[in-house]
Symmetry: C2
Subunit: 435 residues, 2 copies
């Protein structure tokens, strides 16, 4: 059987998982690829570190990238280095030395996808990146190959397992953010520095990639409106539950009259709807296409082997020749004219949840509802509880759910309410969806 | 841009949907395929029938298959005729005249897949069949392309929208089978003759295809154990609900110690588990892979446009060249040696729900529990209600949920209980799963 020589650059958690699949399950991979995927080199930073692969063949590990670049036999490389540099430079070097690349680096693609894809195309090489979004969920292949008869109308997803794990802990265990984060770190679901996960950056980078694939828009992820877990507290999770909703960090891309709405926001999702039921470190994505209707995917969003599964599937596709067809014909990250325009965030329409701490005195509710009315926002439901022992003296929480209105009206009303003397400055406003 | 000439054989509901996508959305399909899919011919039985496509270009419709077979320009044909004959003969004719084929006919593949695939291979042609299982859910592509790094461990699915619609109606509307079926027919979810849907045949044919793809077993679908909706009543749906379960017509394929368990059975699935929450005419599939972990897919299992979406995606894959790679390298329906053996149904292990109508007299419960004990079946829960006004005089329903035991012990115990003088002959036994 023919051999395709492959290499791994970056032997962290995922790289080690990829090596395990290549070394331990060569037979099944060869059956699917129609050729043997032969692991020739694996680049590590520290040659002395134990990789936990007992039978690692000698001569494979190297700390010298040149050994991969200069090896003409190696045609497919799993590029599994995080961050922007040196990841970007190394990917360009790999492409220039004639390798097809498979990557899981969503930050790199979200930031430099255009440059990297243009370079790959001009060199006649390919980049596959299933593992960059959704972990084990094959959302890239599904959008680029399976739903090609459709105009995608919307994509909505829970794309970050760390923040979803934290949210689930807060909601189901009643622990606050700090304790939930500590648990996530202890169980390996969160990095030592979880900033990109919890502030929504990671989710936004993934959304930028999906939006490019599904709608052809080439957008800088930093231009996408983004809120993270800092924008609410466990109190909001409790109130949402009372109202029949769960809070999830939701990435949204949807066509409204041929224009595209894109944002990442903690969102109240009605209980029982598939995205509301996603628990722990899982990811899930709903796709609506004009022919296929609504599709829902749910699976492990991260972790060593689910991500390695996606990387190796891409290596097989690349070795077998499918990636070449997809990459070239589907014009990913190309300069193709995109007729879809972005809807500015303030123009998006939605329902809102607002929480205030208000003075327990006459006239306050009338002031607040007056402000909402003056912004033409109608109230769907309202909760005002009596003060409890634990609440601040003479202050009561007030929760308002609105009907649909524009983000700009909601924001302006929210700021006007916050500016009232009888309202505490710590206020919260979140998006709401029925599903 | 290059043109690929395509044809449609069979202009029923799905065929008309495919024509609509090709005619109305040529631009987007060309973008994804890298070439224009040019609808050249469409075979109909009756040329005078109105197809509901106002701008159908003249000269495309024909009632003569030869016009397609002899047209050398046509390279891809959507074969959308149901049943076995003449569907089988026509598919062979298409392959022999040099066409690549796309089909939605699961019955034909389940019965003659081996013959058709062997012929296609020997002729250098391809058969794509995403639309044959799961409607709009791209389960074929996901198994054959996205999970190629995995050994699939289990597949469980709700694969027939008609029966799931009927079950949902019975459970949520409280109507009996006949009325639920009538509603399904009125809404177009059930054929005039729904036999294959409700007796589990359609589900079993789809399971045979999935089992072949995921496990390499080449099995006659008629050899797979199958129960349909006739094996329980609305009473069982009610009791299942009281116990915290829903009944779904479930297709199961799972590896147990490297051997394969395959069956289609109405199964009690615990509430809240994804498969239990599948409502109406939807389909859903869980896949467990040894690397990717558990994945869940949910979408429209039938219907004109979801199925047409799958057919056209296959036509694009075929025109673009991906099908050729997948079809040849993945050795679908090949003679490749399969090391997996089938587990005889009676040897499978499961939990069971059993319902009896028993005489309301002393000693009966002791007899029944004695029989279960003698078959080493332990009871997980039991319900015996007092007789109600509507129940038969001196008879009470008895519901037993067992712990795990073998199918053979469960069946033998069930038959022994049924043979008791104090037990009515109308008894029910269903499988149970936690999800």
């Amino acid at each position: 059987m023919e051999k395709t020589h492959v290499a791994i650059v970056g032997m962290g958690t995922v790289g080690t998982g990829v090596a395990r699949l290549l070394l331990d399950h060569g037979d099944r991979l060869a059956r699917h690829a129609g050729r043997v995927l032969w692991l020739t080199k694996a680049l590590v930073r520290d040659l002395s570190k134990d990789r936990g692969i007992a039978d690692f063949p000698s001569g494979i590990l190297t700390d010298n990238l040149e050994e991969i670049l200069e090896n003409k036999q190696i045609s497919v490389v799993a590029h599994l280095i995080g961050g922007i540099e040196p990841a970007r430079t190394i990917m360009l070097q790999l492409l220039e030395s004639g390798k097809d690349v498979v990557t899981a680096n969503k930050a790199l693609l979200a930031q430099h996808g255009g440059e990297l894809f243009d370079r790959a195309r001009s060199l006649g090489r390919t980049i596959a990146f299933e593992a960059s979004v959704g972990g084990g969920i094959p959302i890239i292949a599904n959008i680029t190959q399976c739903f090609t008869a459709n105009q995608i109308i919307s994509l909505r997803g829970i794309l970050n397992g760390t923040s979803n794990f934290i949210l689930t802990q807060m909601s189901e265990r009643g622990v606050d953010y700090d304790r939930a984060l500590a648990t996530a770190q202890r169980l390996g679901y969160a990095e030592a520095d979880p900033t990109m996960d919890v502030n929504g950056s990671d989710t936004t980078q993934k959304l930028a990639i999906l939006a490019h694939l599904a709608f052809g828009v080439r957008i800088d992820w930093k231009e996408i409106y983004r809120q993270g877990l800092e924008s609410f507290t466990i109190e909001d999770i409790r109130y949402a539950e009372k109202l029949g909703y769960r809070i999830r960090l939701l990435a949204t891309a949807q066509l409204i009259d041929d224009n595209l709405e894109l944002h990442v926001s903690p969102t109240l999702i009605r209980n029982g709807r598939p995205l509301a039921e996603v628990r722990g470190p899982y990811n899930a994505i709903t796709v609506v296409g004009d022919a296929v209707g609504d599709m829902f995917f749910h699976g492990q969003g991260a972790g060593q082997m689910p991500t390695a599964s996606a990387v190796v599937a891409d290596m097989i596709d690349t070795a077998a020749g499918r990636t070449d067809i997809t990459f070239r014909r589907l014009q990913l990250w190309s300069d193709r004219q995109c007729e879809i325009e972005m809807i500015p965030y303030w123009k998006t329409i939605g329902r809102y949840y607002m929480r205030y701490l208000v003075a327990d005195e006459p006239g306050v509710l009338s002031q607040i509802t007056g402000i909402l009315g003056s912004h033409r926002i109608s109230i769907s439901s309202i909760i005002q509880h009596e003060p409890t022992e634990s609440s601040e003296p003479n202050k009561v929480p007030l929760i308002i759910m609105t009907h649909e209105c524009s983000e700009s009206e909601a924001s302006r009303a929210h700021e006007a309410i916050r500016a009232l003397q009888s309202v505490d400055s710590e206020c919260y406003k979140l998006r709401v969806t029925e599903g």
